[in-house]
C-alpha cells in the first residue's frame, strides 16, 4: 500500500499525460501509471536497431491542439520542431509527382484543378471551421434537459447556419457523401484526387467510395485547423511530444511512473477507488482516469460484473478493429524516388496514384486479406533530425493502408509477406530501395494491439465514423468522459474527439472532471 493520490491516470499516452498535466495544474495530486518503459503510447519512439530511433506508430505532428500546446507550455518543456509546413507529395507512378504545400500546388500540368482545388479547399476549410470548436468541448448529451447541452447543440447549429445558405446547403449535401463522388465532381487530376481521398480515409475502415468518407475528411481538416505549424516533425522523434507533456505534468507536481502496468481498477462499494498493478502493488485514489481504450478499460480493467449488460452490449458494438499497419525500414542511405527532387524527399510522401487504387487496396480487407498494392504514407524523419540515426543511416516510416485485424491464415504467417508487398510497392517509385534495407519491422494491427495495448490495434482506439463521433463516442449515453462506474473516467482516443496526436481528449476530460467533481 503506497501513498494516496487524488487521481490516478492509467496509461501514459499523450492524452493521459495531457489530462494529468491539466489536473495537476489545477492542484490535484496526480499519479500517471504507464505499462511500458516509455511514455507516449502509440506516439512513442521505438528503437529500430542499436542507435537508431524511429516512430513506434504516429510519425508526423499536425493536429496538436493549440490550446494544449500553449496552456501546457510544451515549447518550454522541450517540444522543438525540426521541420514544419512539410509539403505533401502525391507520388505518380511515371515519375511525375504532385506537390501540395499549404495552398500551393505544383506539378499539375494542364488542368482546371489549378482553380478548382483552391476553391474546394477553401470551402471545405470553412465547413471544417464550423466543426473545429466542437473538438475542444465535451460532446453535449442528448435529451439530458441540461441547458448547457442545449447550448452546445445550439452553438454547433449556429456555426453551421453562420456558414451562410450556400455553404450550409453544400455541407448538408456532402456530409454523408463519399469522397470518391465528391472529388470526381470537383477535380480532374488523378494524383491529386488519390492523395486527397487517402487523407479522407486514413485511419478509418473506409475506402474512398464508403459513405461518410467526406465527414472523416472534414473531421481531419478540422483537427488541422488552428495549427500554424502544418505538418511538423518534432526534434528527437514523435516521442518528444509526450516527453514535453510529461515534463509539463511533472512541473505541476504530477508523478509519473513507467513499467507500472495496471492489472485492474479497484471498485469498492460501486466506486473506483484505486488500481492494482501487475506487481501486486495497489494504489488508492479518489478518482481513476483511464487513457486506455474503452474496451480494455471496461472489459479488462474494470470487469463485467461492475457493468450493466446494455452498456456492455453498446461497448461490444464499438468498432475497434484497426485497418492500418506500420512498417519501419532502416536504410543504409537516403532513398531515391524516380523523378523526385531531393528537396521534397523530406516531405510527406503519399502513394495513392488514383482513387481507384485506394479503393482496390481497401477491397481486400473486406475479405480478410491485406492489400496487394497498398496505399502508403511515407516519412523519412532522419532527413530532418540527424540525432535519430548514425550518419548515413536513414529511417523510412510507412503507414500502410490496408491491413485487416484478422488476416486469413493469421498474421504470423502473413506478416513478412505483407512487408515484402509494401517494399515491392515502394520499389515501383523508388527502384533501388530493396537493396538499401538493413532492417525492417512490420507492425500489423494485432502487433499494434499488443505493443500499445490498443484493442484491435486501432490508432484512434475505435473507428471515427458518424455513428462513433461526438455524443456517440465511445457509446451513446457515456460520451462525456464519465463512465457508468462512479469515480472512473476516460480520457483517451476512444472518447471525443478521438485520436491523432491532438491532446484534445485529454484536455477536455480534465476540464470535464474538474467541473463535475467540483459540483458533486
Amino acid at each position: 500500500m503506497s501513498a494516496s493520490y487524488d487521481i490516478i491516470v492509467v496509461g501514459g499516452g499523450h492524452n493521459g499525460l495531457t489530462c494529468a498535466a491539466y489536473l495537476a495544474k489545477a492542484g490535484r495530486r496526480v499519479l500517471v501509471l504507464e505499462a511500458s518503459d516509455r511514455l507516449g503510447g502509440a506516439a512513442a519512439n521505438r528503437e529500430l536497431a542499436p542507435g537508431i530511433t524511429g516512430p513506434g506508430c504516429a510519425h508526423v505532428l499536425h493536429q496538436l491542439h493549440p490550446a494544449v500546446r500553449n496552456q501546457l507550455k510544451l515549447k518550454k518543456h522541450g517540444l522543438k520542431l525540426v521541420a514544419r509546413q512539410l509539403p505533401t507529395v502525391s507520388l505518380g507512378q511515371d515519375g511525375r509527382h504532385l506537390t501540395l504545400t499549404g495552398k500551393r500546388i505544383d506539378g499539375l500540368g494542364e488542368s482546371g484543378d489549378r482553380e478548382a482545388w483552391p476553391a474546394l479547399h477553401r470551402r471545405l476549410l470553412r465547413m471544417a471551421g464550423a466543426l473545429h470548436p466542437s473538438l475542444s468541448q465535451t460532446a453535449p448529451r442528448m435529451g439530458s434537459g441540461d441547458w448547457r447541452d442545449w447550448l452546445a447543440f445550439a452553438k454547433l447549429g449556429l456555426r453551421l447556419k453562420m456558414l451562410g445558405k450556400t455553404d450550409m446547403r453544400e455541407f448538408l449535401r456532402i456530409v454523408n457523401m463519399n469522397v470518391f463522388d465528391l472529388l470526381n465532381d470537383e477535380l480532374a487530376d488523378e494524383r491529386l484526387k488519390g492523395a486527397l481521398a487517402f487523407d479522407a480515409v486514413l485511419g478509418s475502415n473506409f475506402g474512398p467510395r464508403s459513405p461518410g468518407s467526406v465527414l472523416t475528411w472534414l473531421y481531419r481538416l478540422a483537427g488541422d485547423l488552428g495549427n500554424s505549424d502544418g505538418l511538423a516533425i518534432p526534434r528527437g522523434g514523435m516521442g518528444e511530444v509526450a516527453e514535453a507533456m510529461a515534463n509539463a505534468a511533472r512541473s505541476f507536481g504530477a508523478e509519473i511512473r513507467t513499467d507500472a502496468r495496471v492489472r485492474r481498477v479497484i471498485v469498492e462499494n460501486d466506486r473506483a477507488c484505486g488500481v492494482e498493478l501487475d506487481s501486486g502493488e495497489s494504489v488508492r485514489a479518489k478518482l481513476v482516469i483511464s487513457n486506455a481504450d474503452p474496451k480494455r478499460t471496461f472489459l479488462s480493467l474494470v470487469g463485467a460484473e461492475h457493468l450493466d449488460t446494455g452498456f456492455q452490449r453498446r461497448l461490444k458494438a464499438f468498432r475497434t478493429n484497426g485497418i492500418a499497419a506500420k512498417l519501419n525500414l532502416v536504410l543504409d542511405g537516403a532513398p531515391e524516388f524516380t523523378g523526385l527532387d531531393m528537396a521534397l524527399l523530406g516531405g510527406r510522401l503519399i502513394l495513392a496514384p488514383d482513387m481507384g487504387y485506394v479503393e482496390r487496396a481497401f477491397d481486400h480487407t473486406k475479405y480478410g486479406e491485406y492489400s496487394v498494392a497498398p496505399a502508403l504514407e511515407i516519412i523519412i524523419p532522419t532527413l530532418h533530425d540527424g540525432g535519430l540515426a548514425p550518419v548515413g543511416r536513414h529511417v523510412m516510416s510507412v503507414v500502410v493502408h490496408y491491413a485487416p485485424y484478422e488476416l486469413k491464415g493469421g498474421w504470423e504467417a502473413g506478416r513478412e509477406g505483407f512487408a515484402d508487398k509494401v517494399v515491392e510497392t515502394i520499389a515501383t517509385v523508388a527502384p533501388k530501395l530493396p537493396g538499401q534495407i538493413v532492417a525492417r519491422q512490420m507492425l500489423a494491427p494485432p502487433d499494434l494491439e499488443r505493443e500499445f495495448g490498443m484493442t484491435g490495434g486501432h490508432w484512434h482506439h475505435g473507428d471515427l465514423a458518424v455513428d462513433q463521433m461526438l455524443m456517440l463516442r465511445p457509446v451513446p449515453g457515456f460520451a462525456q468522459y464519465a463512465s457508468p462506474v462512479p469515480g472512473l473516467y476516460l480520457c483517451g482516443a476512444g472518447t471525443h474527439p478521438g485520436g491523432g496526436v491532438m491532446g484534445a481528449a485529454g484536455m477536455n476530460a480534465a476540464k470535464r472532471i474538474l467541473a463535475r467533481e467540483a459540483s458533486s
Partner: protein, 398 residues
C-alpha cells in the same frame, strides 16, 4: 452456442412433445399461440378446468416456456449480475422467483431460477432471452444454452397433485418443500420435479427429455385415474394465476425491451416487487438506476384490488372521485373460490395504499351494447386466495 437457433415463428406452429396427447382432449379446438408453439387455450370448458385446479389435479403443458441452462465456474457471479435478487442465497437444489432488469432498472422479464449445483442454473422465462443472456455472458466464464427444445415441461397442479405423484411411485415426494428440486429415475431417464407453479396451490412442475414426454403423460394418467386428473388450458390457469396474485409479463406489465414508448417500462419497485431487489449483494443490471429510483420513489405500484359487485373489471380505469384517473386494471376476474371480484391494477404511487375513495370504471358488453358502470374498490393484499395446502410440508394428503 451449439444448438441451432430455435425457430421463433414458423408456419405451421411448432408442436410440443405432448401434442399427440393433448390433441384428443382438445374437443373444442381452442388452440393458442405461445412462443412459436401451438398450445391449448381451453380443452372443453373453462369452468370445469378451473375447478379441477382447485379441487383435484390438473396437467398443463408448459413446454413452450423458454429454458436456459447457465453453467460454468462463474455461474453464480453471472446470475448475480443478471438478477436483482441475491443468487448466492439460492442454494443448490432450490428454485426461486426472479426478475431481471435493463440498464435503466426496468424489468425485462420474470421467471423461475433453478439451481442444480454450485455451477449450474436454469432460467425459465416466458419471453425469448437469448440475446440478453448471451450479451450478459461477456466477461464471465459461463455457457448459456437455450435448452427449450431439449426439455419438456408439465405443470401438475391441484390438491391431489402430490397424491398422483405418489401413485406414480416418486419416493419421498410428500416431503419436498416449496421451491425444492428433486430428481427421480424414470423409464431409463431422469424426471426432474420442482415444487413450483403458477396457480398458487399445491403443485409441481415436471421436467423430462422429449423422448420420454408421452410416456410420462401416459403414466401420469394411469396414476391419476382415480383422482380425476384433468388436462387444463391457459384460460383456466390464468384464472388461478390471478387468484394467486401473480403478475404476468406483457399482461400486467410490458417487457422492457419490447415497449414502443419507454415510459411504459416498469421497475421492480413499480411492480411492487421490492422484496426481489437486493442492493447489498454488489452490482447487478440496473442497480445504479434503481438506487436513484429508490431516492425519487417509483411512479407506479402494482396492487391487488377488491371491487364491489360481480362484474369482472378487465381493462377498467381506476379513478379517485369521479374524474381523476389514477390507474388501470390489467387482469381481473370474478374469483370463484375467493368469492370476490378481484383485479390486478397499476396505480400511481400516491394512491397505491388507498382503502377507500377508489372507483373502477368497468366496461360491460350487454349483447353488443357497450356500457360502463362504476364500482367502489379498495387496495388489498395479494394473494387473493392462499390455501394452507400451498406451502404445507409434508404435502397434505386428500
Amino acid at each position: 452456442m451449439t444448438n441451432p437457433a430455435p425457430a421463433l415463428y414458423q408456419a405451421p406452429l411448432l408442436t410440443t412433445p405432448f401434442h399427440s396427447r393433448l390433441q384428443p382432449f382438445a374437443l373444442t379446438n381452442e388452440w393458442l399461440r405461445w412462443g412459436g408453439y401451438t398450445t391449448v387455450d381451453c380443452f372443453t370448458d373453462v369452468a370445469t378446468e378451473y375447478f379441477s385446479i382447485r379441487n383435484s389435479a390438473t396437467l398443463y403443458d408448459v413446454s413452450p416456456m423458454r429454458k436456459y441452462r447457465i453453467a460454468g465456474p462463474d455461474a453464480e457471479r453471472y446470475m448475480n449480475r443478471l438478477l436483482t435478487r441475491d443468487a448466492a442465497k439460492i442454494r443448490p437444489g432450490r428454485a426461486a422467483y426472479a426478475v431481471w432488469c435493463d440498464d435503466g432498472g426496468k424489468v425485462i422479464d420474470d421467471g423461475t431460477v433453478f439451481r442444480f449445483s454450485e455451477t449450474e442454473f436454469r432460467l425459465n422465462s416466458q419471453e425469448h432471452q437469448e440475446c440478453w443472456l448471451e450479451d450478459s455472458a461477456i466477461g464471465f466464464n459461463v455457457v448459456v444454452e437455450d435448452i427449450t427444445e431439449a426439455v419438456a415441461g408439465l405443470a401438475l397442479q391441484g390438491p391431489l397433485s402430490c397424491t398422483v405423484l405418489r401413485q406414480l411411485g416418486l419416493d419421498g415426494i410428500a416431503d419436498m418443500k416449496p421451491f425444492g428440486i428433486a430428481e427421480f429415475p424414470f423409464e431409463g431417464g431422469a424426471l426432474t420435479v420442482t415444487r413450483t407453479g403458477f396457480t398458487g396451490d399445491l403443485g409441481y412442475e415436471l421436467w423430462i427429455t422429449p423422448d420420454l414426454a408421452e410416456i410420462l403423460w401416459d403414466r401420469l394418467f394411469e396414476a391419476g385415474r382415480l383422482y380425476r386428473l384433468t388436462p387444463v388450458g391457459s384460460k383456466a390457469v390464468n384464472m388461478a394465476r390471478i387468484e394467486a396474485g401473480f403478475i404476468q409479463t406483457n399482461t400486467d406489465f410490458m417487457a422492457a425491451e419490447t415497449v414502443a414508448h419507454i415510459s411504459r417500462r416498469r421497475s421492480p419497485f413499480e411492480l411492487s416487487l421490492d422484496w426481489l431487489v437486493d442492493f447489498d449483494k454488489g452490482h447487478f443490471n440496473g442497480r445504479r438506476a434503481l438506487l436513484r429510483e429508490r431516492e425519487s420513489g417509483p411512479r407506479y405500484r402494482v396492487v391487488g384490488l377488491d371491487i364491489e359487485g360481480s362484474k369482472p373489471a378487465q381493462d377498467a380505469l381506476i379513478y379517485v372521485g369521479r374524474t381523476h384517473q389514477v390507474g388501470f386494471v390489467t387482469s381481473a376476474i370474478w374469483s370463484p373460490t375467493a368469492k370476490r371480484n378481484i383485479a390486478i391494477a397499476t396505480l400511481q404511487t400516491a394512491y397505491a395504499d388507498r382503502s377507500e375513495g377508489l372507483w373502477a370504471e368497468i366496461y360491460v358488453n350487454k349483447e353488443l351494447k357497450w356500457d360502463k358502470t362504476t364500482a367502489r374498490c379498495r387496495v388489498v393484499e395479494r394473494p387473493f386466495y392462499n390455501p394452507p395446502r400451498r406451502r404445507a410440508t409434508p404435502a397434505l394428503d386428500f
